[in-house]
């Protein structure tokens, strides 16, 4: 199906652009990310600029998308429905926040950094994938 092939190529390009953005902005340097999180130290607000610019661009793209019935290469948009804020969301965000503060890596920069094939990022990503797998295991009651 050519639509599938086009979507795959688009995702490849979008992933590469995303990764270049992370590298250009300095977010593939965990020490710099930790410098943003370290409000009691020599605070580095760069991450705020990264978020502001990314949201500034994507805010308008989303408004544009809302005026359309479907994206260019598929039959519909796959945007999460507005579910309520629940304990699972909050607990997950808190656990992620602790992990981010301990390691200085969030998933995007860590995956881009795999290109450097260094031990620390391999350990982080390996454990992150294990954590994802654990969280996705079916639980009684699910």
């Amino acid at each position: 199906m050519s639509g599938g092939r086009d979507r795959t190529l688009l995702a490849l390009g979008a992933g590469a652009l995303f990764g270049v953005g992370l590298g250009v902005s300095g977010m593939t340097r965990p020490a710099k990310v930790l410098g943003f999180l370290d409000v009691a130290g020599d605070w580095d607000p760069t991450l705020l600029c990264v978020m502001a610019a990314a949201v500034g661009v994507h805010f308008w793209a989303y408004r544009w998308a809302r005026g359309r019935s479907a994206p260019r290469l598929d039959e519909r948009f796959f945007v999460p429905a507005g579910s309520p804020i629940d304990a699972r969301l909050c607990a997950g965000a808190v656990l992620f926040g602790v992990g981010w503060g301990v390691g200085g890596y969030c998933p995007g920069p860590a995956i881009v950094s795999l290109a450097a094939l260094r031990g620390p990022v391999l350990v982080f990503v390996g454990c992150m994938l294990l954590g994802m797998l654990l969280a996705l295991l079916p639980r009684p009651g699910d």
Partner: protein, 143 residues
Amino acid sequence: MSDFTPLSGLLGGALIGLSASLLLLGSGRIAGVSGIAAGALFSPGEGQRAWRLAFLVGLVAAGVPFVLLAPAAIEASPRPLGWLAVAGLLVGVGTRLGSGCTSGHGVCGVSRLSPRSLMATALFVGTAMLTVAALRFGLGAAP
């Protein structure tokens, strides 16, 4: 603020926003890295694996020119290996329970003004700041 680099931050951020916008307007998908990684590797969704793997390949491929031409752009974390193992587990479990990370909630969801993403982003940024402060004052671990 000795390491503050606003211009490269704004430029890189704009590229990230552009990437998320291409994916949304082109395929209708959310550029959430944790969901894409978990979906590509662990959920068999029919026809959903190829684009996710391609996005991940793009991310890693983007690192290659930095490694070759500007190696200082990709540093290893200053934290000890044991901490990185714990951090990885927490990030993996947390992003699945919380359905997103800095990209899916922080960029895409905040751009949609999604209440869930605004809440998640405030919580993970706040918690990460508290964690770094606790490690600094509790263990003397300045990053």
